[in-house]
């Protein structure tokens, strides 16, 4: 139906990275245990990256995504404590569900704020989400007074930490959500309109696309992913804090670019994003096994993205396409 670009470069990079890591860690990398730990860690970054991809495809960005995740975690933790009478470890299923719902609503509220500013008031996306981020960071600190909140019931922890049929539950979640996400982005009317708006806001408006509600929807969806990320994070860390995972904000953006999402909006596939997240995870796990400085992982990630962007540039894919003005248009621009 609609033409999509190929992910050949990304498959190639994934294979190369896997090979390099296997060679550098001859005894430890190609082990079931190692792949298990990758399956355990990958969903966290994957959900953040998906949440970032939505607004970028629409021509924006969500700088508040990590702050929203922390906000969700904190609200959920506080509701748990309040609704279970101070003993969150024994909270009933209903209380857990209500608390999580509260967390999700908090995330959506944050998304609605960004979405309203950007979609309705046309505030530039960077400004709006930067504002939302700083607002949430402040609120998060006020709510927690800077302390770490800890102690969650097993059912909640299972989301990030449990195992089902020998595979981590977060990885099952990731598989299911990735399928749904792909349908939303590449098969639904909302997804189609989002790609159109990201490609040309003006032309989309002149085609009667409701730019306001689609942009609003994109920030709500982005925040929903932040909430999912928050629940995984709560399970894996067994705690929430005002400023967890802040360095992952830029990693989520970087994963999008690595996955072939057009920084200017309007292009990028979910499968490319998933491959990009896998590449980042393999690098991170491999470097860890070598017992190197963890900050080296960040450097490696940055390096890989630069290599891929350079490669894509040389092969002409990422280059800002010059419109073919000769085809009867050259004078259309000035003569008209």
């Amino acid at each position: 139906m609609r033409r999509r670009s190929s992910n050949a470069t990304l498959y190639l990079v994934l294979i190369i990275v896997l090979a390099i890591m296997a060679v550098l860690n001859p005894t430890r990398f190609l082990r079931v245990r190692n792949f298990y730990s990758m399956a355990y860690q990958l969903p966290f970054l994957a959900f953040l990256a998906m949440g970032q991809m939505v607004p970028i495809v629409g021509g924006g960005i969500n700088l508040a995504i990590v702050a929203t995740a922390n906000f969700t975690g904190i609200i959920t933790a506080m509701l748990l404590r309040a609704l279970s009478g101070g003993s969150p470890l024994e909270a009933s299923t209903l209380v857990i569900l209500v608390s999580m719902l509260g967390g999700v609503l908090a995330a959506l509220l944050a998304g609605a704020l960004s979405g309203f500013l950007i979609g309705y008031l046309r505030v530039p996306d960077i400004l709006a989400t930067l504002g939302t981020m700083i607002l949430l960071n402040g609120v998060n600190i006020v709510l927690t007074k800077g302390y770490t909140l800890t102690g969650f019931p097993d059912a909640l922890i299972a989301i990030g930490n449990g195992v089902f049929l020998g595979i981590p539950i977060p990885f099952w979640l990731f598989l299911a959500i990735a399928v749904v996400f792909r349908m939303i982005m590449e098969r639904s009317v909302f997804g189609y309109q989002l790609y159109m708006i990201g490609s040309s806001y003006t032309a989309s408006r002149f085609a009667g696309i409701n730019t306001r509600s689609v942009i609003m929807g994109s920030y709500l969806l982005s925040s929903l992913f932040a909430a999912i990320t928050a629940f995984v994070m709560m399970g894996q860390l067994n705690s929430v804090k005002a400023n967890y995972a802040e360095s992952y904000l830029l990693v989520s953006v970087l994963a999008c670019f690595l996955g072939g999402v057009d920084p200017l909006g309007g292009d990028g596939r979910v499968s490319g994003l998933v491959l990009a997240v896998m590449i980042l995870q393999v690098i991170s796990t491999g470097v860890n096994l070598m017992r190197m400085d963890p900050f080296f992982i960040l450097a490696m990630w940055g390096f890989i993205v630069l290599v891929i962007i350079a490669a894509n540039h040389l092969s002409g894919r990422f280059r800002l396409q010059r419109p073919l003005r000769g085809l009867g248009q050259d004078s259309g621009l000035a003569d008209g």
Binding site: R2, S188, N210, G328, D330
Partner: protein
Amino acid sequence: MSDFLKLVGIKKSFGGVQALKGIELAVGQNEILCLVGENGSGKSTLIKIISGDLKPDSGELWISGRMYKQLRPIQSLNLGIRVIYQDFALFPNLTVAENIAYSQLVETQDRLVNWREIREIAARAVELVQADLDLNEVVGNLSVANQQMTAICRALTRDTRFLILDEPTSALTKKEIDRLLQVVRDLQAKGIAVMFVSHKLNEVLAIAERVAVLRDGELVATLDREEATNERLVELMSGTRVTYSRYEAKPSNEPPLLEVKDLSKRNCFQDISFSLRRGEILGITGLLGSGRTELALALFGIDPADRGQIVVDHQPIKIRTVKDAIKAGIGYVPEDRLTQGLVLKKSVGENIAAVIIDRLRGWLGLIDNRAWNAAVERWIDELAIRVTSPEVKAQTLSGGNQQRVVLAKWLASLPKILILDNATAGIDVAAKSGIHQIIRRMARQGIGIILISDEIPEVVNNCSRILIMRKGRIAAEVETADVTEAEVQQLVELTEPRGKGEGMVASSL
């Protein structure tokens, strides 16, 4: 050598299309040369090669007896070549003096601004053309004619040898045009060569010493003033003797499809009233800035009107958003297809589906591929859009084909009313007449069409009635059966807004 500029064998192509096919042209030291040609004939490309914005593929530029393979923009400036484009490229938030002196100040590379120098530079330039400009006025507040004078003054601050004016009269009234032509003659007397690029032949004939005619990238003729006549130029420009066939709408006594009553928007248009019948093609023309596009955008919900009434099919409706307009069955084909009409990065199919996407929902609200393909293929067929597949990106198509995609997008929504705003600008003659055929076919199918255009022949030949707008009001209304193109042209440039009475038409003819 008394030629200031001589072009030898200039060729330029863009991705397979030859825009210029070996141009040979000379301009004397202080000659006024007019360059005419249809949209898409290569005029702009030629100007850009002279100004150094584009490199020719082959050929030579001789300037004051020196040969150049290509020019860089700064070289072109240093050689005394200035181009004033249609949009003037002024800073609307700066004063006249600042705008005029700007380029000279940049050149001196001083770090500090010398306000007295700015005034002196500006005053000298204004003196040169004896323009009546207030140096302290902010350019954004000036009339179009005075903005143009500012642009001309700016071009004259440095040693100018050759001035190119690109479509300089498209937003001017008759009086302002006369003033401009006088300024051009004065500049000539001061030893400056002028190239006057236009498609309005009456002005060309008024000012030219020689006329060069471009068609499809070739210089088909260079005529002396005595040899040039209106008919001869039209024939040369279009290649064939264009005999526009007139469109005769069947007169019907049906009640109007669209009625607009006293529609107003502050600073845009006032008290607009008209009606449109099913199957009618109603023309709206007027100078740039006469309010015609603003009116169209109000009917389409992009910039809604402040007050007034819109009635579609007897239903009074409010149009506040594009969605409202679409719901009422109104579509809009904009002049600027590159930013407003099309999502260039996306495929032809994705563009065609944009308006009807909600009707292509299937299982779970996902897009129904079969319905999508059927709709896209149907409209590619109906409008004979030449593409190898619906997945081709819109930006790769020619102008005429692109405009067909925009039409397809709207026709797919089965509109009652379609507004075309200068929809054939920048499209070659053959593609243009193809679009006209489509418009007539749509009208025969019962769609009411509002055809907004600069080109008098386009409205006169396709429409049964024409509204002529001036300064945001309807200045005149004519039945095309009763008028010639020249008379309509006159109305556009001369008429004052229609007052309470309706007597304006007769008196201004």
